[in-house]
């Protein structure tokens, strides 16, 4: 069965896709996200990432005239669990003592928090699943949505992929990748936000979803190269001739990550530098490549997580982007 993936709708700290493509350096793109929510009161306790995800999803549904019913499934992809609230909860327990730990902070820290708020906001009663634990979590969400649409379990898959980062993320990555800089804590540029997109059967004007594959063989460079080779060889037979390939690797380990990918894949030169977007990153790179190199050719993102998961997402052309 032929499925389509699109359109895409991005809300991020760096602004919209138009802002990113124009090279504007923005960090205030999520200001005023509360005003974009359909029911801001019900989300008053939610974190910025949840609000952004709900805003991106509801705006996309409205722009595409998608009917919300039990036949709409929600698939959320995020690299980490809801770290902001986890951190605040743990911190408060040390600061104020365990008896004063806030249950409100805890309930917002649950990994499927975004799916929960989406289901409550939209009144969804069907499928909502959250995929975590890797840079490829968004591609896993696309794969799951495609399986469910193809299997007839839902008619439309609403996918929301998040880029989440906190001061804890910065400290953690500095500890692992820049241990000698831990005391000075240099700033790391993060791309935070959410992209929403739809998987459907043959939606007119949307690119076909040619492949969404994931592979893991281990953590070392040789195992990572095997995973990239395996997932790429599975994808390559389905790509259109002349497909443009972009890569997505951890910003802090960019050279080594790209070197692993390039053992199997010839990727386009890196596009604009917008910081570290985690699970959001491969989608933004695909969208940006479509915006900067428009044309009918196919497009694929090859993603390698620092933990060793490799993934490929391939379309038969650039996906139209919704700007609201």
């Amino acid at each position: 069965m032929s499925l389509t993936l699109g359109p895409f709708h991005l809300l991020s700290t760096a602004g919209s896709l138009r802002d990113l493509a124009s090279g504007k350096e923005r960090t205030d793109g999520l200001q005023g996200v509360d005003d974009r929510l359909p029911q801001p009161n019900s989300l008053r306790r939610a974190g910025e990432e949840t609000k952004t995800a709900v805003a991106a999803a509801t705006e996309l549904l409205r722009a595409t005239g998608t009917v919300v019913s039990e036949r709409l499934g929600v698939y959320v992809g995020q690299q980490q669990i809801a770290l902001d609230y986890c951190t605040r909860f743990v911190e408060s327990s040390y600061r104020d003592g365990p008896k004063l730990a806030s249950p409100m902070l805890f309930s917002e820290s649950v990994a499927n928090n975004v799916a929960t708020h989406l289901s409550l906001t939209l009144g969804l009663r069907g499928i909502a699943q959250t995929f975590i634990g890797t840079r490829a979590a968004g591609i896993q969400a696309v794969k799951a949505a495609a399986e469910d649409v193809a299997g007839g379990h839902v008619d439309v898959g609403l996918i929301v992929v998040l880029g989440v980062a906190t001061s804890l993320t910065r400290d953690a990555y500095l500890s692992v990748y820049r241990p000698f800089q831990r005391k000075n804590r240099p700033d790391i540029r993060f791309l935070r936000g959410a992209v929403a997109m739809l998987v459907r059967r043959e939606a007119p004007g949307q690119p076909r979803l040619l492949h969404a594959g994931v592979c893991s063989a281990g953590r070392g460079p040789a195992a990572q190269a095997r995973a990239v080779g395996s997932v790429w060889s599975e994808a390559v037979g389905r790509l259109k001739p002349g497909t443009r390939v972009v890569d997505s690797v951890l910003d802090l380990a960019r050279e080594s990550g790209r070197a692993v990918i390039r053992q199997s894949v010839i990727a386009a030169p890196p596009g604009p530098d917008f910081g570290e977007g985690y699970a959001l990153d491969p989608f933004v790179r695909l969208m940006l490549d479509g915006a900067l190199h428009p044309g009918p050719s196919g497009r694929a993102a090859v993603c390698l997580g620092e933990e060793g998961t490799a993934a490929v997402l391939a379309l038969d052309g650039p996906a139209p982007v919704v700007e609201v």
Partner: protein, 412 residues
């Protein structure tokens, strides 16, 4: 992709909990209704409202792992990764699957709500209580679930097609359900599914702050129930098409015949008190499996022992099966024995269902005074020979997942 649904069987299980390792350690406890709860030793509970949980025996876990793996491979791995590693290896052994003979990447749909957050928590405590410079970064390298699956792949010599689901307390069932559907549609022949999570300070304190943890005994469906305790667990199952299992000559542990899932769209943390979402998921799963309500012989309830869950679940069961049938089917919650094992719960409870179907008994759960708001037939004796088991899971966000499993009988 096949036109007709493919029959999906379970050919291997591997599981660890506070009760022990694998079926031999668990069967007697399930028959007796023996609980693994005890004082928490992993972290300091001074100042907490409750201080009991069900930790796995880490020294025995390490001894079991060292029997099959070189010590350097295990160095630096957190308890979550080690439990996952042992249960996956045990499931593959049980199924007779040799990783080096697999010709393509093995689908692995695993669930967790916390990934390796216990590692991150220890690192963060070092940052909070001392300084960043004193925190040990090594703890962070096993935090992400992707890293834990990559480690699993590396140590066991597997190439995996990984997917990590986090669907709150319905995670384990969601993971099995996703792989089940995939195999049923003919898109794959063999794969791993399951879940894992670790008792950690964060999760214990979180549920403690919600008032969901019991200071006494976990007594699901009891009039005086006061909540649950948290337990460690990892449970992995090998799911396979019947054709593949027969071709390999594998021993079949049971057949998964139905899966249903739904959302309550009611409240972030409370289930729909009428159990409507759960009932829809149960009906979906039973219909998919072609199982009439009267044919259900056992329900492994989500049964957290909280006032809100148990009454809502009871209503959901009665709504799905009908009041007459629903009040006669034997029901128990094994969370009373192993605790709430979060992302592992649905998978571990599926292993208990398979064990009960295969060995012919009903898992027992002690109840002193049954709540009239929960008019179910609670299992007080292990006597019984169930042929069809239903496994319910409910999670935050109103997530419901239900599996229906049949006893395997050759020639069926």
């Amino acid at each position: 992709v096949s036109a007709a649904p493919v029959r999906v069987v379970v050919t291997g299980t591997g599981y660890v909990s506070g009760l022990g390792f694998g079926p031999e350690d668990h069967e007697a406890a399930l028959r007796e209704g023996r609980s693994a709860v005890g004082p928490i030793r992993r972290f300091d509970t001074t100042g907490f409202r409750t201080s009991r949980g069900a930790q796995c025996d880490e020294s025995r876990l390490d001894a079991l792992l060292r029997r099959r793996l070189p010590a350097p491979a295990l160095r630096g791995l957190g308890v979550d990764s080690r439990m996952l590693l042992w249960s996956a290896a045990a499931a593959l052994d049980d199924a007779g699957v040799v990783p080096s003979t697999l010709r393509r990447a093995l689908p692995a749909v695993l669930g967790t709500t916390l990934e390796g957050f216990w590692q991150a928590e220890q690192w963060y405590a070092e940052v909070c209580l001392r300084t960043l410079a004193h925190a040990r970064p090594r703890r962070l390298t096993q935090c992400m679930a992707g890293a834990q699956l990559s480690t699993l792949a590396e140590i066991l010599g597997l190439t995996l097609e990984p997917m990590v689901i986090s669907n709150a307390c319905a995670t384990g069932v969601s993971a099995i359900g996703r792989l089940f559907r995939r195999l049923r549609s003919g898109e794959a022949e063999l794969g791993l599914a399951g879940g894992y999570d670790t008792l950690s300070r964060f999760i214990h304190l979180g549920f403690d702050s919600l008032g969901a943890l019991t200071p006494g005994t976990c007594a699901p469906f009891d009039r005086n129930r006061s909540g649950f305790f948290i337990g460690d667990a990892s449970a992995v199952l090998v799911l396979e098409s019947l054709e593949s299992a027969r071709r390999r000559g594998a021993r079949i542990r049971g057949e998964i015949v139905g899966y249903g899932e739904s959302l309550d769209a009611h409240h972030p943390t409370h289930p729909d008190p009428e159990g409507r979402g759960l009932a829809r998921a149960m009906v979906q799963a039973l219909e998919m499996g072609g199982v009439a309500p009267a044919s259900v012989d056992y329900i492994n309830a989500h049964g957290t022992g909280t006032p809100a869950n148990d009454s809502a679940e009871s209503r959901g069961i009665l709504r799905a099966l009908g009041e007459d049938v629903g009040s006669r089917v034997p029901v128990s919650s094994t969370k009373a024995l192993v605790g709430h094992t979060l992302g592992a719960a649905g998978a571990l409870e599926e292993c208990f269902c398979l064990l009960a179907l295969e060995r012919g008994f009903l898992p027992v759960q002690a109840t002193r005074e049954q709540d009239p708001e929960c008019p179910l037939r609670l299992v007080s004796s292990p006597e019984g020979r169930p042929a069809v088991a239903v496994n319910n899971s409910l999670g935050f966000g109103g997530a419901n997942g239900v599996l229906v499993t049949r006893r395997w009988e050759e020639g069926a």
